[in-house]
Symmetry: C2
Subunit: 699 residues, 2 copies
């Protein structure tokens, strides 16, 4: 059968609409689930209101930020508006805004369902593990469908309307801007609340987790949604758009050279099939008789992966698409799975690292930290090798069997392949905060020990799966940004040609070129500094919130004693977390963006190429190290709490809590935000390449 780009674009739109339909159906399904407990509804409403407070405040700031950036884009990109065609600048600015708005809407939808599904999952827990799991999972899947459907639809629409790949990068940059706020801001919010609630509640006053007397308890529950649900969703929206944008930019470049549109068409075909597989996966998701939620979540992922592999092979055969590209995308998906398994090994409480760290907890807190850091550092190796192999394999297959110039396109298709099951990944991920919240609601609503046990087991599955999905999303971001490096070269060459600098102005980045090396070494220093700024932000913000909690316990009469009718001022804590998050994230984000521009002005496009490369490499290392160390400490604490190495209340447990507190901003603030940071830097670099071509100090 012969193929046609238009056909695959229309098909993509159809699948995206199908995804929205699925999301709508799931939304209604979750809404229909019974809920009657008044106390649960009350607390549920507090969480919902808190989440809305954060979203409103964040989106207001974002609106200002995005408007400023849009104006800058309008004036300067793709070239100064007074020099080129002003329409191009308008398209660019609009694409940027559209990217931010699409990702924002997906976030709002996801948060909205999450704050409904938590209540439903809590009450369902009184009826059994299966209905509770289904409420949590289908709630998460709404987010998954909205994000992937939205990103695919956005990409298709922008390309069909503008027929301009640079506009696609603009759209991607819009999504990145939002992700930076949602992920880093959400990460600061959630850990501020979590740490403060624990430090005052569990440690100082020795009241249980999720105790309604704690003024920070609602903020803590809101934080789960804000960080893991909205943040992770925006992060993967961003990666997904970026991987498609990079693949389409390079595919379209190849199509221009070789004629036809097979490469661009393949991107849409595979992306649409990925989404379709996720839709099928969501519907087949079910809990077996054994009631093991971890297995249920993982099974979905494997089923979706298999469906994707089979359907893409079939499509490649039927539509006569290039097989090497199919191989490239499959290599990406397989490496993603391997990386997920490696992350699981280093964080799973049935494996050696957790047991070793638990043993260290018996010796002393310093050993808890040292062993956790050490295993976290070791966990970097398998993932890095996996990414390296995926990049090498997909490049070699594409370059050798399709011809010169196809290698980078192969890498971008490996990223697309790795991200193909992203709908499933987000569903699994958003499930986590929903059942975590449900556990809190069961506790606060006094729904009984059986329900608490059920939500505990659902929550623990969420934590285990989270490590895998995080490893996966980091690797995907890594491959995507490598592909963006290719897109950067394309962008520079198009601009260079227009500026009369000749064809193929830029062929690569040689590290023995001192400009490249300079960029490389400075770019590599950015992720550690960025993560340090975020962690110090959490630190400062938590100090503020602790002060507020102390004030409330001191000033509100009867609060500490739990006198009936006395409630803390939950909203004060939510405000502090919200305002602090935004205040602390802006300098870190600006630092990364300004460093990119500065390096560009000093060393030109060569230095920027080195900068992106260094940024990817050290970004991957720190993202993996921090996420895995954090997950490892978290599960070690839980492993000890389950009765090992002295159990709850022992010295080992106390040290385990210290490890977990260190790990919290590692795994939920700094680590996963680095993803977004590297994407933002790459896109800023690609979009501003023309400027550095025209002017730089040494370039």
């Amino acid at each position: 059968m012969s193929f046609d780009l238009g056909f695959f674009q229309i098909a993509s739109i159809v699948v995206a609409v199908l995804a929205f339909g699925t999301a709508f159906w799931l939304y209604k399904w979750v809404e229909k689930q019974p809920s009657s407990n008044k106390r649960v509804a009350e607390v549920g409403k507090l969480i919902k209101d808190g989440a809305n407070t954060f979203l409103k405040k964040e989106y207001k700031t974002l609106a200002v930020f995005c408007t400023c950036v849009a104006v800058l884009i309008l004036l300067f990109l793709p070239g100064p508006i007074w020099q080129g065609n002003p329409l191009e600048n308008i398209i660019m600015a609009l694409s940027y805004l559209l990217g931010a708005v699409f990702s924002g809407i997906a976030g709002i939808v996801g948060m909205s369902i999450a704050t409904i599904a938590n209540v439903k999952a809590a009450e369902a827990a009184t009826r059994g593990i299966k209905p509770s799991f289904m409420s949590g999972y289908r709630g998460g899947a709404v987010m998954g469908m909205a994000v992937v459907g939205g990103s695919l639809l956005g990409v298709v629409l922008v390309l069909m309307v503008t027929n301009n790949t640079t506009a696609l990068l603009g759209f991607s940059f819009g999504a990145s801007s939002l992700a930076l706020f949602a992920k880093a801001g959400g990460g600061i919010f959630t850990k501020t609340a979590d740490i403060s609630a624990d430090l005052v509640g569990k440690v100082e006053l020795e009241i249980p987790e999720d105790d309604p007397r704690n003024p920070a308890v609602i903020a803590d529950n809101v934080g789960d949604n804000v960080g893991d649900c909205a943040g992770m969703g925006a992060d993967l929206f961003d990666s997904n758009v970026a991987s498609m944008a990079a693949a389409i930019t390079m595919g379209a470049g190849l199509d221009r050279i070789h004629g036809g549109s097979v490469n661009t068409a393949t991107v849409f075909c595979y992306a649409a099939i990925g989404l379709l597989s996720s839709i099928i996966g969501v519907f087949t998701a079910n809990m077996k008789e054994d009631g093991n939620p971890t297995r249920a979540l993982n099974n979905n992922t494997y089923i979706t992966t298999a469906i994707y592999g089979i359907l893409t092979a079939l499509a490649t055969f039927v539509f006569d698409l290039p097989w090497p590209i199919w191989f490239a995308s499959t290599i990406g998906l397989l490496c993603g799975t391997v990386i997920g398994i490696a992350s699981d090994y280093f964080t799973n409480d049935e494996k050696k690292p957790v047991h070793m760290v638990a043993e260290s907890c018996e010796v002393g807190p310093a050993f808890t930290i040292l062993s956790g850091i050490s295993y976290g550092l070791m966990s970097v190796l398998p993932a890095m090798i996996g990414i390296g192999v995926a990049a090498l394999g997909s490049y070699v297959v594409a370059e050798n069997y399709m011809g010169a110039g196809y290698g980078m396109f192969g890498i971008s298709m490996a990223a697309v392949g790795m991200l193909s099951i992203v709908g499933m990944i987000i569903s699994n991920d958003a499930y986590g905060p929903i059942v975590d919240n449900a556990r809190g609601l069961v506790e606060m609503g006094d729904l009984g020990d059986k329900a608490l046990e059920i939500t505990d087991s659902l929550d623990s599955a969420g934590n285990t799966v989270k490590a895998v999905t995080k490893g996966f999303s980091i690797a995907a971001a890594g491959l995507t940004v490598i592909a963006l490096l290719g897109a950067f070269i394309s962008e520079v060459n198009v601009a260079a040609l227009e500026m009369g600098k000749g064809e193929a102005y830029l062929t690569g980045f040689d590290v023995t070129n001192p400009l490249v090396f300079f960029g490389l070494i400075v770019g590599a220093a950015i992720p550690p500094v960025f993560s340090a700024m975020l962690m110090l932000g959490v630190d400062r913000n938590a100090q503020r919130m602790i002060k507020e909690i102390h004030r409330q316990f001191k000033e509100i009469v009867g609060l500490k004693e739990g006198k009936e009718g006395v409630v803390p001022e939950y909203d004060k804590c939510i405000e502090i977390a919200t305002e602090g998050a935004i205040k602390e994230l802006i300098p870190a984000g600006l630092m990364a963006i300004l460093a990119t521009l500065l390096v560009g002005f000093v060393g030109g496009v060569q230095a920027v190429g080195g900068f992106i490369t260094g940024n990817i490499v050290s970004g991957l290392i720190f993202a993996l190290f921090m996420s895995n160390s954090g997950g490892l400490w978290d599960n070690t604490k839980k492993y000890i709490e389950a009765g090992n190495n002295g159990g709850k209340g022992s010295d080992a447990h106390k040290n385990g809590v210290i490890g977990d507190t260190v790990g919290d901003p590692f795994k939920d603030t700094a680590g996963p935000s680095i993803n977004t940071q590297i994407t933002v830097v790459s896109l800023v670099a690609s979009l501003t390449s023309t400027i550095f071509l025209a002017f730089s100090l040494f370039g």
Copy 2:
């Protein structure tokens, strides 16, 4: 005046001999200082014997290791012995052994004087701060002179005898092998002893530091010498040789192309002047009336730097050497100083980071760790920018004003410039463990409170200066390895020409080449894994020693009570530290070497180039982060002990101790060993380049 390579080589030999003379004179001077206290002499002898135990055991293992490597070199390098000229293989193997032997001798001399000078400094403390300082400083300077004299003499001799730059790389590799054992093994030894002694002594039994009842106290004192004195000396011997080897390899290449020998001559000229400046610096070292040892140490460094700058300018003028190269070497030295100052900022107890971490100590141990890690991560940025600027500046000046091909030579001369004052750096560094030991001897010999106060202040100066010298040595290693990347290309091209692959086979490493990227990403993962392995080694080894200390306190009657005549079995602890150090370091070292070979066999020379680059970049980040975090925590603890944030015995102090315990293996085991790891990897890569040229899977 016209120049002549032979003249500068002879001059280098003369200066090296002058350095040995200085070392001898200083040795005698220290030996002549009065000492009479029996108890001090007794303990001093225990330390000396302990140090000898370690050295003997280590050198025995090293002898076996180096013999094996030498046999491999004999068989395979520079090419298989059955194919090329066997004489070349013999020269290579002998150069390798010579490098190890020279560095080993310097280590023995340094350790020997250190275990004399500690006794002298302790007793001199009863007479005042100045004589105590001079004993410590001049003892350290013996090591400085021996190391730099030995490295310069070795390089000149090997080059004069063989007239072969590859043999020089062999000599450098020998020095690196020794450094790997001395630095990483010494690092494991010292922290095993330190942590175990503190945990059982200070924490469990609450007996003071350096209490003679503690079975690990002698091992702890030996460890200071083994890690900071012998280890640091071997590390800088290695960097110094590697920087000269890289510069000479590239200089000789340029001389072959352009005729004459001005480039090679310049290397020797500047290196000799560097050593000469250090000799002058050692003699002018003195303590002012204010008795501020930190200022005295820093003043020496500044004086030496100034002398070097003036003398090299003079020499450049008189001998008509190329000015751009003078600029390159001066940029290197200046950037080294800036990096030292930045390290100082992040670790000095008069600056903001220490105060902020001390405040975090009041909140809880998790905050101590989080803030220390955050500032450590931030400290990476100025140093990385400094290295980037040094590399870019020296390259641009050399390339623009001397012509194509001179850029990399410029970078190598920046490294030579940065390392020019290495004699002074080592002297300052070796001073540290001597006065640290002296403090212990004063305590154990009951020499009175005034002497304790004096040695305390000398010790504290040693710690402050250590942060600066560490930053300096890490930066120097970084620049050196960048230069080695240039040497690697030269080596490959020479081999490629011989193999008929044409001229200029390799021109650089393009990161968009998937082989380079694969190497880059895997190479970047090695330093974190290497440091994790060393830290886990310390952890395991400390557990063993703690068990032994517990056994002694249980089985030796009267030990805990301090009954007269009852002494612990110090040697048992020394044995455990020694054997454990060697056992734990070998897997880490092998991992790094095997990874290099594996990447080479998979991806050929392109992948190896990427591998080295990734290794440098992430190696620098982790070395800086770990050294600075560790120094920061150490000084925070001391700052609190000085009466701030609650002072000794407060909760903040307890948390400060936890931070310091985490920081110990960071700053004294893992961090500084990474230096050596990156040098070893680069040299292994350069030496085996021919093999990968002949065979690789994808290359």
